[in-house]
């Protein structure tokens, strides 16, 4: 969002984790709201026009009807936008474009991070299983790994799944 904030014509207010989307809209009175589509409170935002008798601030899903492919790209990237003042400001499209690009980059980083974390976690499980094989079946470390790999290949599973199963069975026999 830095690129957006750097534009002096735009004031960007970001929600902190746990903040309510509705309260933020009430407090800041934004022209345009960019929403991460993973937020479940989108339904509350778009229901506001029908349900708030006291402050019927018009809220409309901002859609560029001339450019459906752009909206499609935005939704695919996980961004949706709401215009809360009735008429969208004329320069809203570059803002949305920047937001979509940023969001996509953020998602890629997050995905890379997730897969790195998964790999670390999987390695820990495999190490634990190897330790158990070394101790209980008196295998060498390379043999323990080969044992896991052989079982994985013969059962059509991933090595980590075989390791998990081994640890689970050991857990069951103990309890």
């Amino acid at each position: 969002m830095q690129a957006l904030a750097a534009d002096r014509g735009i004031t960007v207010s970001r929600l902190q984790p746990g903040d309510s989307l509705l309260e933020a809209v009430a407090v800041h009175g934004p022209d345009v709201v960019l929403v991460d589509m993973a937020r479940p409170d989108r339904d509350a935002l778009e229901s506001l026009r029908q349900l708030s008798a006291s402050n019927p601030r018009p809220i409309a899903l901002f859609v560029d009807q001339d450019d459906p492919s752009f909206m499609e790209a935005a939704i695919a990237a996980g961004v949706s936008s709401y215009n809360v003042i009735g008429t969208p400001p004329p320069d809203v499209k570059p803002i949305l474009r920047a937001a979509v690009a940023l969001f996509r980059r953020y998602q890629q980083t997050r995905a890379a991070l997730d897969s790195a974390e998964t790999r670390l976690e999987e390695r820990a499980v495999i190490d634990q299983a190897k330790t158990r094989l070394i101790r209980e079946r008196r295998l060498s470390e390379p043999d323990a790994y080969r044992w896991l790999r052989r079982n994985a290949m013969s059962s059509g599973q991933k090595i980590v799944d075989v390791a998990r199963k081994l640890l689970r069975e050991a857990e069951d026999t103990r309890s």
Partner: protein, 364 residues
């Protein structure tokens, strides 16, 4: 039949998503030559957006939201059709324990209106309008709750404050005292009851017997370009509905819903399935739940107009006929050996104030 791209079918984490999950996991779609991908979405808004922009081909949808999206009441008009009903009933009005205690009347009548009138008396004694949660403004939950409140002498715009909370969060909101009650789908009312924070006040079938709940909405461009895939989709869902409705299926259906991707609590879900132990149970096929009746669409539209969300420039019958397409279901029904009730026949279902829900003018 060969279908190249998998059909993208959207749903939410709800017990009435069962037909889609059962059809996929039991291989019913596959047997019909159809490849389907489920997409579990966090909000109804996502489902509506993705259907409108072709990122979903079909979805389990709230009928009023499908109509609102098609009419452009939430953004640009979405090209979507409703060729099938997926479920009926299953929502509950659940209130905080102290509210239930305050309006309890062991000797009094227990019909929906009697309960509503006692709630009205309690509401009048409150210093500020208590908050009630629904899952979306354009939801069956909201329209049925408002209908019942109004029939009980309560002004839903003045005597209560309506807030929108995602179904999976209503239980916590009730426990923390942020709301006095909610109207939500299964199993969220059952869970609030089990943890002791909520009490079941009434089921939505007490407001409108045999009311339609979820419908299948399909993206019109996809449906027009893939008529064979649409028929296979309808047939798979029809078979799944019948399985879900069958005696003895509740245990394994609840088991499937407890697995990824829905991860719902099995015991609470099971209670809300046909023949379950909950007071309000989902119907998947019984009571005409599978037929998308235009008279029902007109009822939803008329309610939206009643509350000022739909202008008089829109012809209700015309809108209902454009969006609701029971004719598309006729061939699938035939292929599955279901006797087709026709596109104009209505299943009469009474409303709590004595009118017939399928009569377009009811409650307007």
């Amino acid at each position: 039949m060969t279908v190249s791209a998998p059909v993208r079918l959207g749903l939410l984490r709800l017990a009435d998503s069962a037909p889609s999950v059962v059809a996929l996991q039991r291989g019913l779609f596959r047997e019909l030559g159809l490849s389907v991908e489920l997409s579990v979405e966090p909000s109804w808004a996502n489902i509506a957006d993705k259907l409108a922009y072709g990122l979903l081909d079909a979805a389990s949808m709230l009928p009023p939201l499908a109509l609102a999206a098609a009419l452009g009441l939430r953004g640009a008009p979405a090209k979507l059709l409703v060729p099938m009903g997926l479920s009926g009933g299953g929502n509950t009005v659940t209130v905080r324990r102290e509210v239930a205690d305050a309006i309890a009347s062991p000797a009094g009548a227990h019909d929906a209106l009697a309960k509503g009138r006692r709630l009205a008396a309690w509401l009048r004694a409150q210093p500020a309008p208590p908050r009630f949660a629904v899952v979306h403004a354009f939801s069956t939950h909201n329209l049925l709750l408002r209908y019942w409140l109004a029939a009980s002498g309560i002004d839903p715009d003045r005597d209560i404050t309506t807030v929108v909370i995602p179904p999976e969060q209503v239980q916590a909101a009730l426990a923390e005292g942020r709301i006095a009650g909610f109207c939500a789908g299964a199993p969220w009312g059952e869970l609030a009851e089990q943890d002791g924070t909520g009490r079941h006040l009434l089921g939505t079938s007490e407001i409108w017997a045999n009311h339609p709940e979820k419908c299948l909405a399909v993206a019109e461009p996809w449906a027009m370009a893939n008529p064979a895939a649409l028929q296979a989709l309808l047939r798979g869902l029809l078979q799944a509905q019948l399985l879900c409705e069958q005696a003895g299926s509740a245990a394994w259906v609840a088991g499937l819903l407890a697995e990824p991707p829905l991860n719902l609590p099995a015991a609470a879900v099971r209670a809300c399935l046909p023949r379950g132990s909950a007071a309000e149970r989902i119907r998947f096929h019984a009571g005409g739940a599978w037929v998308p009746q235009r008279s029902q669409a007109i009822w939803f539209l008329a309610q939206m107009r009643r509350w000022g969300w739909l202008g008089t420039e829109i012809d209700l019958r015309d809108a209902a006929e454009r969006v609701y397409r029971p004719d598309l279901l006729a061939a699938a029904a035939d292929a599955e050996g279901r006797s087709w009730p026709g596109t104009d026949i209505v299943t009469a279902g009474g409303l709590c104030d004595g009118t017939i829900g399928d009569q377009p003018a009811a409650g307007v």
